[in-house]
Symmetry: C2
Subunit: 403 residues, 2 copies
Amino acid sequence: MSNNPPQSPAAAAPPSGPVDPAARDRHWMGHALSLAREVLYTTAPNPRVGCVIVRDNRVLGQGATQPPGGPHAEICALRDAASRGESVAGATFYVTLEPCSHYGRTPPCVDAVIDAAPGRVVVAMGDPNPQVNGAGLARLRAAGIPVTTGVCLEDALALNAGFAARMSRGTPWVWAKMAASLDGRSALHNGMSQWITDHPARADGHAWRARADVVLTGMGTVLKDDPRLTVREVPVPRQPRRAVVDGNLQISESARLFDGGEVWVFTATDDPVKAERLGRRNARVIVLPAAEKGRVDLAAMMAWMARHDVNEVHVEAGAGLTGALLSAGCVDEILAYVAPVLLGDAPGMVKLPMLSHLDAARRFDFIDIQPVGRDVRLRGRFADRWQSLLAAATPHSPAAPAR
Amino acid sequence: MSNNPPQSPAAAAPPSGPVDPAARDRHWMGHALSLAREVLYTTAPNPRVGCVIVRDNRVLGQGATQPPGGPHAEICALRDAASRGESVAGATFYVTLEPCSHYGRTPPCVDAVIDAAPGRVVVAMGDPNPQVNGAGLARLRAAGIPVTTGVCLEDALALNAGFAARMSRGTPWVWAKMAASLDGRSALHNGMSQWITDHPARADGHAWRARADVVLTGMGTVLKDDPRLTVREVPVPRQPRRAVVDGNLQISESARLFDGGEVWVFTATDDPVKAERLGRRNARVIVLPAAEKGRVDLAAMMAWMARHDVNEVHVEAGAGLTGALLSAGCVDEILAYVAPVLLGDAPGMVKLPMLSHLDAARRFDFIDIQPVGRDVRLRGRFADRWQSLLAAATPHSPAAPAR
């Protein structure tokens, strides 16, 4: 699954023998996606994008988005081709995201692509910003360049679901990580929870922390486990930001969470004295409106994070906050590790209001099922949330202007 | 997985081109196993066995165990070869279970095999009866026939785990079927449980009922759901026997369980009047010693079933009986269907005593993980129980008598 932690891109052996053009396009787009996965940790808040320039089943140049302020994937691929002494005129460009058509920190990529005179451009997903989707494609078509869109669209979107969510709906893409026994118990009654799942599952969980912009927890977990929530089990070039939901601003300055980079403390309690004290411990206290007394408005928190360039949020919290986020409609995906054990009489993994009918339960789809060490990882996704993201990321194809 | 509900055997295309002899053996044993799976429902209490006779990568004859009293697999394969006009002398015989060497309802197969003068005999598992394991192989070797053993041993054992358990330890092989939400809830507080999992998962559950000799439930489930526990979602040549654990002999004669064949009612309450009344409804009441007042000794119940030729028990009960069977060490496998939904505040899927340390929890191994419709099926197996079965089924290779 393309939403997985990064792996080295597979060697892009061109399909041997004749293949149909659609299969060829998927092959090379798959390669461009593998380039994009290589920069999983370094492009935020920009999307992870890969580009490969191909002629006669041969790579002329390739590249992926550099850290913010650096060149985008198309420019990297063009420079790579130039450094190899390759001429790209007439070649096919595979780009995982519609080339940008506006000035940001870098000039519009679409101009550079047009200047390179490609024979064809293949694009996976459109720009998820509704103001911009289709503009780059229209520019290419206006320049007389044939454009194919939607190749490997879902894979491309999975790699940038956070960027797409922030751009299209103004909130991050949020997954809730859980670890539990087969009967859904995440701890014993005495609080013991280390460890229900085995080491490979915990390492896999760290890889998911690593790709997020923010790792979010709740005060219950801070009080119970005093976690650091850093990425330790996999190598990463940067630690994601940590954040805690603390409605009553109870967190102690001695919490281990504060060892390391800046921590966001979301609260519904305006206490400048405490906030100042926490500030000396690398905390930034964000006072948000209360959903009810002492409880942070979780939807407002997500919107705040998106306004502060957060694409992806990894929730690693207890049954209380995880359940509250689910109830508030703030969760897009479930990332569950299930251990081969039954625990019986022990607290459940998620607190949700009692239901009186099964029809009232919100179902998701299992999108990925696989063993991780002795445990099983089950990824779930709410279909409605994915569909609206997919609609935003589907390349718009406005009628090409007359040429 | 060979322990799955039956499928038509794959066409046994011989491996093309040169392959190593071990791979060739696995290929043809795999074909013999697929023949055995075809008779999944009809051999009880005998094991499901397949046999294929091969020369130069060509099938000369094949067969599988016929219903009790009918010929065993080897005889069927020999007759099949004869009916095709094939001479089998010098050919390789693949049999999934060591040929029997004693007179039962049929003469010993090993004599017929020896008479056929095979060039080699390949056997998957040994006879799990410790009194007999190796005797058939010794007879073959004594006749100068080269014997290879242990090919596809685990697959062969999975197909006859119940027979092996009954023969080697005197109890059936028992799996506990459960259906629950991802957070381990099998019903709402108001009792509603229809349906947490979707239709394909329920049909798959019926296929597991179908292969068992006994479908076992508890009084809690009878009172709550009044189930029939028949196989309805898949076609079967015979219904498995139903049984209920009813310590206080509370079951009503009007329970739907009694519609159909004989039902075993296991109780700790000796009430001849009630037993006689139930007898008029197709019930056989079995009074067993009480583990404690009003509670059936579950281990004694399993031993009773094995003495009555039960190989496989499919438990489909509530959290109470399922937990009690687990606690009593009467469960070998977990057959869990997990639905893509979180239910939160609702009863758990299994009642087990409260633990004070995670080390005290009995872990199993996930042996099969796969999507079934929208749901996920997770099969777990207790390693110690499988290992002792495997030890019993490993073909003994006594030193061949001097010839």
